[in-house]
C-alpha cells in the first residue's frame, strides 16, 4: 500500500443533492468514488493524484433501475451484479447483462458501477460497447440541474469525457426497441475471467424479412473495445454493409472496412496486429451467426 491515508479526505454525503452541492461549491476539487474498483487500485499503487474524495457509493437515488414503456433507466450507481441479476436488463439488454457477467470476478462485480465504468473511460471497458450499440443516453446532474445527451460522443479522447467538473452521471437510459434484434457479444482477454479485454465486441443485427436464402441486413450496429482511444462504434463499417446481402464477399468487405476504421495499439496487454485480426474475426463471426438465424424468432435475452 503506497499511499498514506492521512493525506486524504473522504466524505460521504447521505444524498445526491448534498453530493452535487459539494461539487458545485468546489468544482474540480472532489473526486467522486463509487465502488472504488478503479480509484482504490490507483490509491494502493501510490498513483492517485486527487486528495479529496466524495463517496457516492450506495446512494439510493443512483442505485435503482426504472422500467418505463420505451426505456430502461439504470442509475449510475448500479453495480454489475445489479445489472446481471435484473430481469429486464437480462431480457431487453442482453449485451449489457453479458458484459456485466464478464467484468472482473464476483467481488468486483458487487462493487463496480456502470457510472464509474463510464467516467473512468477506459477504452477496454467491457460494458461501454453495449451502450454504444443500444444508443444509450446519459442523464447528467449538477446543482444547476439535469441535462440529457447521447452516450455516443460522450468520450472526447483517451480517458476524457464531456462530464463537467461539477457533474455526476445520474442515469444511463437505454431504449427498449432492440428485442427483435440478434445480439452478439464476445470478450477476448488473456484468460477466461478477471481479464482486461484485448478486444471486445457488442453487436446488434436485424435481417430484412423476405427470401430466407438471401438474407439482407436491415440494420446493423457494431461497437468494439480496445481498438481505439475510446469505446468505438464502427460507423463506416455499418454504413458499408447496411442493406446488403450477407455472402462471403460481404464478410471480407466488412473485415476490410473495419480494419481501416479501427486504430488499435501495441500495449502491455497485446499488439495492434493481433487486435486488428481478432476484431475482424469477431465481426465475421457476428455476421455469419446473424445470417444463420435466418427467419427464426429471436429468443429474449439470448446472445448468438
Amino acid at each position: 500500500m503506497r499511499s498514506d491515508p492521512s493525506d486524504y479526505q473522504l466524505v460521504a454525503p447521505g444524498s445526491l443533492h448534498d453530493a452535487v452541492s459539494l461539487l458545485a461549491a468546489e468544482p474540480g476539487a472532489w473526486l467522486p468514488i463509487a465502488g472504488g474498483t478503479d480509484v482504490m487500485v490507483q490509491y494502493a499503487a501510490g498513483k492517485l493524484t486527487a486528495r479529496k474524495l466524495l463517496s457516492i457509493w450506495n446512494l439510493p437515488e443512483l442505485r435503482k433501475i426504472d422500467i418505463l414503456p420505451d426505456e430502461i433507466r439504470i442509475g449510475a450507481g448500479c453495480t454489475y451484479t445489479d445489472l446481471r441479476e435484473h430481469e429486464f436488463v437480462r431480457r431487453d439488454l442482453p449485451l449489457l447483462a453479458s458484459a456485466a457477467r464478464w467484468t472482473g470476478g464476483i467481488a468486483n462485480q458487487n462493487r463496480g458501477t456502470i457510472g464509474g465504468n463510464i467516467v473512468n473511460a477506459s477504452p477496454a471497458a467491457d460494458s461501454l460497447p453495449a451502450l454504444l450499440v443500444y444508443d444509450a443516453e446519459l442523464v447528467l446532474i449538477s446543482a444547476r440541474g439535469e441535462r440529457r445527451l447521447p452516450y455516443f460522443g460522450f468520450h472526447t479522447g483517451y480517458k476524457k469525457t464531456q462530464l463537467l467538473p461539477d457533474e455526476l452521471i445520474r442515469s444511463v437510459c437505454l431504449p427498449r426497441r432492440f428485442s427483435t434484434y440478434v445480439s452478439y457479444a464476445r470478450k477476448v482477454g488473456a484468460r477466461n475471467a478477471q481479464a482486461i479485454s484485448k478486444v471486445c465486441i457488442a453487436a446488434l443485427g436485424l435481417l430484412s424479412s423476405g427470401a430466407a436464402d438471401t438474407p439482407r441486413i436491415e440494420d446493423v450496429r457494431i461497437a468494439l473495445g480496445s481498438v481505439a482511444p475510446i469505446p468505438f462504434r464502427l460507423i463506416e463499417t455499418e454504413k458499408t454493409i447496411q442493406g446488403k446481402m450477407i455472402d462471403r464477399g460481404l464478410l471480407t468487405l466488412a473485415k476490410q472496412i473495419a480494419g481501416r476504421e479501427i486504430r488499435p495499439i501495441d500495449d502491455i496487454r497485446s499488439t495492434a496486429r493481433y487486435r486488428a485480426a481478432v476484431a475482424g474475426n469477431l465481426i465475421v463471426e457476428f455476421l455469419a451467426r446473424l445470417r444463420a438465424t435466418g427467419e427464426q424468432a429471436v429468443e429474449p435475452g439470448a446472445i448468438v
Binding site: 500500500m1 484468460r191 450477407i246 464478410l251 471480407t252 496486429r273 481478432v278 474475426n281 455469419a288 438465424t293
Partner: protein, 755 residues
C-alpha cells in the same frame, strides 16, 4: 504392526484447522511491541556506478532509521555458494531494483514517500539483457567472461555417430522467465539485543540458509542467530534463497535501531525485485538410425542467471542431468552454461532447470518423429530407457520401470487414439482446431550427486511429558504437507495414533539442520532419517524396560510419560546415511545423479480457437510412478497444483522485460490461471517402491512441473500443423505464426452459420 495403518490414508492436514479458520499465523500477522516498519531503496538503472545519494525535502529524516552498506557489521554479501551478491550495493549496481539503502519508521504509511524522496545519481554503464548479448561478451558484467558455471557431460563417442546417421535433426527451444507468484509476498521480522543476538521470523523455506547468511552479514556466532519459520503462504522455490536477503535487511535495521523491524513486500515490489525461473535456450542436434533409434546427440543448454550467481550453478546442474530425459542415449555430449545479464538474479523455482531442458527435449522428440515420419508415440517407444540400461550420466536403471506400459496406460486413460482420429476429421471444417500432445519424462529427487552427503542432514524425534512425540526438523511446511507426512511416518513407524505426533515449528534454536526444503527431498530423504530417529525413541523405551516388542498406542504413551518423568524429555537423533552403491563423480559429472527417479507420462488435449488464436487445455492426464503414495489427497494436490502452475508457465505467464526490469509487475497484467481457466486435471499413480525413500516414497513436489509445457505445445503443433518451440505461447504468438504461413487456414465461410 503392518504398514498402511496411517501411511496411505488421507489423515487430516496437521495445521489444517488453523488454516481454514484464519488462525494460522503468517509473518504479517505478527506484531512486536515497539516495532518499526522497513522499506528498501532500490536501483532504478540496470548497471552503473553510484555517484551521489540525496535525501530530498519534505521528509522528517530524523525520524527514520537509515542503513547503508557502511552499517554492515560483517561481510556485505548474501552467503550462498559464490559470495558475489551484496546485501546492499555500495559502489556499483548490477540490476534494476538492486537494494541500496534501507529505511525504517514507526508509521508504515510514511515509508513509500520517503523511499521516493531518496534520489540517486548514477554513472550509467552499458548493460546486457539477453543470453545472446551475454555470450557475445562485448560487455563483461561478471567475472572474466559473463559465465557463472559450465558443465560438460560426455558419454560414448558422439563424434562418430553423424556419419552413420540415417537422420540428423536439429532444433532450438526457448523458455521465458516465470514468477513463482506465491500468494503471500515475502516478509520478515527481525529483533536484536546484544545478549541474545538476532532473531528473525519469516516466510521462508530454509531456516539454516538464512542462519548462515545472517552469521556472515552480521558477524555473529552460530548461537547468536536465531531463525524461526512462520506459516508460509506458498514458496515454490521463491523463498529458498531470497529470504536471506530480506532477513539481512530487517536484521540490519533492527541492529541499528535497537527495535524490532518488520519488512513486508507489496506485490509489485515482490515481482520486480525477487527471483524468477531462469530463462533458457537449448539447442539439440540428434543422430538417429533408420528406425528412429537415437544413436547419439549434442545438447547445448544455456540459462540466464541474472546479475549474480546465487543458485544458478545448481539449477544448471539439474537441467543438465535431465536434458536427456527418459531415453537411452548410446552417446551424448551436453554442454551447459549459466550466463550473467543485468536483471535481478534468477533463482529456484519448482523443477529447478528440469522443466527447461525437458521442454526442449520433449518438443525435440516430436520434431524428430515428424522428420522421420513416425508418430510421437512410436518415437518414444523406440528410445525409452529399459531396466539395466544407463542414463546420460551413466546411472544404471535398476528398478523394473516399464515406460512402454506406462505410456500405454496414459494413452488409454486419455482416449488418445480415438480422439486424434476424431480431431483429424473435425479439424478439416471447424474453427476450433483440436490436438493431443504427449510428454514422457523423469525427475530425480533429492540433492544431486554427492549433495545429500554434503548436507549430512540431522533430525531429532523427542519423547514428551504427555506421552506424545515431537519431530524436530528444519524442513518447513508451506502447503506441500511436510508436517502431515512426517507425522504419518512417525506414527506408522512407532505404532502410534496420528494425533500423538506433532512437528515442531522450525526454529534454529531448537531444531537440527535437516537440510533445505527443496529438491523434492523432504518426504523421501528427510522422512527416511525421521524414521530412524523414531525407531531410536522406541529402542530407548524398550531398553528401559518400559515397552515390550508389541504394544498399543496407550501403552507407548504411558511408557513415554513414565520415562520423561524420570529422565526428562529425551531425544533420538539420526543423521543421513548415504546409500551404498550411489556414487557420483563431480569432476566428470558422471555416476548416480539421484538416489531415485520418478517417471511420468503426461497427455494434453487442447483446442486452438481460430477466431481469437487462444489455446485452451481441455483435459489433462497426469500419470506418474512415484514409489509409494503416502497421502492420497496431498499427493494428488501436489500434482494438480504443479500441473496448474506449469499450464500457467506455458500459456499465460509472460514476464515483459524492458532494460532488465519487469514491466508487468501487477496481477492485472501478469496473468496466472483462475478457476475458470484450468481443465479437469486427472491424476493417476503407480507405485514401484523405493528402497531409498521413507516407506518407499519418491519425491514428487517438482515432477509435475516438467511435463505439461511440452505436452501442451506438442498438442498445439498437432492441432495446427506448424511448429512452436518457445514458451510462453500466447494467442499473439499463435496469430503471428499462422499469419506467417504461406496459406492461411481458410477464408470466412458461411455453411451452417459456423465453420
Amino acid at each position: 504392526m503392518a504398514n498402511d495403518r496411517i501411511i496411505g490414508k488421507p489423515v487430516p492436514r496437521k495445521e489444517g484447522r488453523e488454516k481454514v479458520t484464519g488462525q494460522a499465523q503468517y509473518v504479517d500477522d505478527m506484531v512486536l511491541p515497539n516495532m518499526l516498519h522497513g522499506a528498501t531503496v532500490r536501483s532504478q538503472v540496470p548497471r552503473g556506478k553510484i555517484k551521489k545519494i540525496t535525501f530530498g525535502p519534505g521528509i522528517a529524516w530524523d525520524e527514520f532509521v537509515i542503513v547503508s552498506a557502511k552499517d554492515i557489521p560483517g561481510a556485505n554479501c548474501i552467503a550462498l555458494i559464490v559470495e558475489d551478491q551484496p546485501c546492499l550495493a555500495s559502489e556499483f549496481v548490477n540490476h534494476p531494483e538492486e537494494p541500496i539503502l534501507l529505511l525504517a519508521h514507526p508509521d508504515r504509511h510514511v515509508l513509500p514517500k520517503a523511499v521516493a524522496a531518496v534520489s540517486i545519481e548514477y554513472e550509467a554503464l552499458p548493460a546486457i539483457f539477453t543470453i545472446d548479448e551475454s555470450e557475445q561478451r562485448s560487455e563483461i558484467i561478471w567475472g572474466s567472461d559473463n559465465t557463472f558455471k559450465t558443465y560438460l557431460v560426455e558419454k560414448g563417442n558422439v563424434d562418430l555417430v553423424w556419419e552413420q546417421a540415417a537422420f540428423i535433426v536439429d532444433g532450438e527451444y526457448c523458455t521465458g522467465a516465470q514468477e513463482q507468484l506465491y500468494i503471500e509476498n515475502n516478509g520478515m521480522i527481525a529483533a536484536f539485543d546484544p545478549a541474545h543476538g538476532i532473531t528473525v521470523w519469516g516466510s521462508l523455506q530454509c531456516p539454516y540458509y538464512v542462519h548462515k547468511a545472517l552469521m556472515k552479514l552480521c558477524d555473529l556466532s552460530e548461537a547468536k542467530v536465531r531463525v524461526v519459520q512462520m506459516e508460509t503462504g506458498g514458496a515454490f522455490g521463491g523463498k529458498e534463497e531470497y529470504p536471506s536477503m530480506i532477513a539481512g535487511h530487517a536484521a540490519l535495521l533492527a541492529m541499528k535501531s535497537g527495535r524490532p523491524v518488520k519488512i513486508i513486500y507489496d506485490r509489485m515490489e515482490d515481482m520486480v525485485a525477487t527471483t524468477k525461473r531462469h530463462p533458457s535456450r537449448t539447442r539439440h542436434r540428434t543422430a538417429l538410425d533408420k528406425d528412429g533409434k537415437i544413436l547419439g546427440g549434442e545438447i547445448d543448454f544455456t540459462i540466464d542467471g541474472g546479475a549474480y550467481a546465487t543458485l544458478s550453478s545448481v539449477v544448471l546442474s539439474r537441467g543438465t542431468i535431465h536434458a536427456g530425459g527418459p531415453y537411452y542415449w548410446p552417446s551424448i555430449r551436453i554442454r551447459a552454461k549459466a550466463v550473467a545479464t543485468n536483471a535481478p538474479p534468477h533463482g529456484a523455482f519448482r523443477g529447478f532447470g528440469a522443466p527447461q531442458s525437458l521442454f526442449a527435449l520433449e518438443r525435440h522428440m516430436d520434431r524428430i518423429a515428424q522428420t522421420i515420419g513416425v508418430s510421437p508415440v512410436e518415437i518414444r517407444r523406440r528410445n525409452f530407457l529399459k531396466t539395466g540400461q544407463t542414463t546420460t550420466t551413466d546411472q544404471a536403471v535398476h528398478e523394473p520401470i516399464d515406460l512402454d506400459t506406462l505410456l500405454d496406460r496414459a494413452l488409454e486413460l486419455s482416449g488418445y487414439a480415438a480422439k486424434r482420429e476424431r480431431f483429424v476429421a473435425q479439424n478439416e471444417t471447424s474453427t476450433q482446431k483440436k490436438g493431443m500432445g504427449i510428454a514422457t519424462f523423469l525427475h530425480g529427487a533429492g540433492f544431486t550427486g554427492s549433495g545429500e552427503r554434503y548436507l549430512s542432514s540431522l533430525v531429532a524425534v523427542e519423547g514428551c511429558a504427555e506421552g506424545t512425540v515431537r519431530v524436530l526438523v528444519s524442513s518447513t511446511e508451506f502447503g506441500q504437507g511436510t508436517k502431515t507426512v512426517l507425522s504419518q511416518i512417525v506414527a506408522e513407524t512407532l505404532g502410534l495414533r496420528y494425533e500423538d505426533v506433532a512437528v515442531a515449528q522450525p526454529d534454529t534454536v531448537e531444531v537440527p539442520n535437516s537440510g533445505p526444503t527443496v529438491a523434492s527431498r523432504t518426504v523421501m530423504v528427510v522422512g527416511k532419517i525421521v524414521q530412524s530417529a523414531a525407531q531410536g525413541i522406541k529402542q530407548t523405551l524398550q531398553a528401559a524396560g518400559l515397552l515390550g516388542d508389541s504394544y498399543s498406542p496407550e501403552e507407548f504413551r504411558a511408557a513415554c510419560r513414565n520415562y520423561v518423568s524420570t529422565h526428562g524429555a529425551f531425544r533420538s537423533l539420526a543423521r543421513y546415511e548415504a546409500p551404498a552403491g550411489v556414487f557420483w563423480d563431480d569432476a566428470k559429472y558422471r555416476g548416480e545423479a539421484y538416489a531415485a527417479f520418478a517417471w511420468a507420462v503426461y497427455i494434453a488435449e487442447v483446442s486452438v480457437d481460430l477466431t481469437t488464436y487462444g489455446v485452451t487445455v481441455d483435459e489433462f492426464v497426469a500419470l506418474q510412478e512415484v514409489g509409494k503414495v503416502l497421502h492420497p489427497i496431498l499427493a494428488e494436490g501436489q500434482i494438480t497444483g504443479g500441473v496448474a502452475q506449469a499450464i500457467g508457465m506455458t500459456l499465460y505467464e509472460k514476464v515483459i522485460w524492458q532494460n532488465g526490469r519487469m514491466q508487468n509487475a501487477q496481477l492485472t497484467n501478469y496473468i496466472m490461471p483462475t478457476s475458470a481457466d484450468l481443465p479437469r486435471i486427472r491424476v493417476f499413480f503407480e507405485e514401484l517402491g523405493n528402497v531409498h525413500g521413507a516407506f518407499g516414497a519418491k519425491g514428487i513436489g517438482e515432477l509435475p512441473m516438467d511435463g505439461p509445457a511440452p505436452a501442451i505445445v506438442n498438442a498445439v503443433v498437432d492441432a495446427l500443423g506448424i511448429p512452436f518451440d518457445s514458451i510462453p505461447l500466447l494467442a499473439e504468438d499463435v496469430f503471428e505464426a499462422l499469419t506467417a504461413q504461406a496459406s492461411p487456414p481458410g477464408e470466412p465461410q458461411l455453411a451452417g452459420g459456423r465453420r
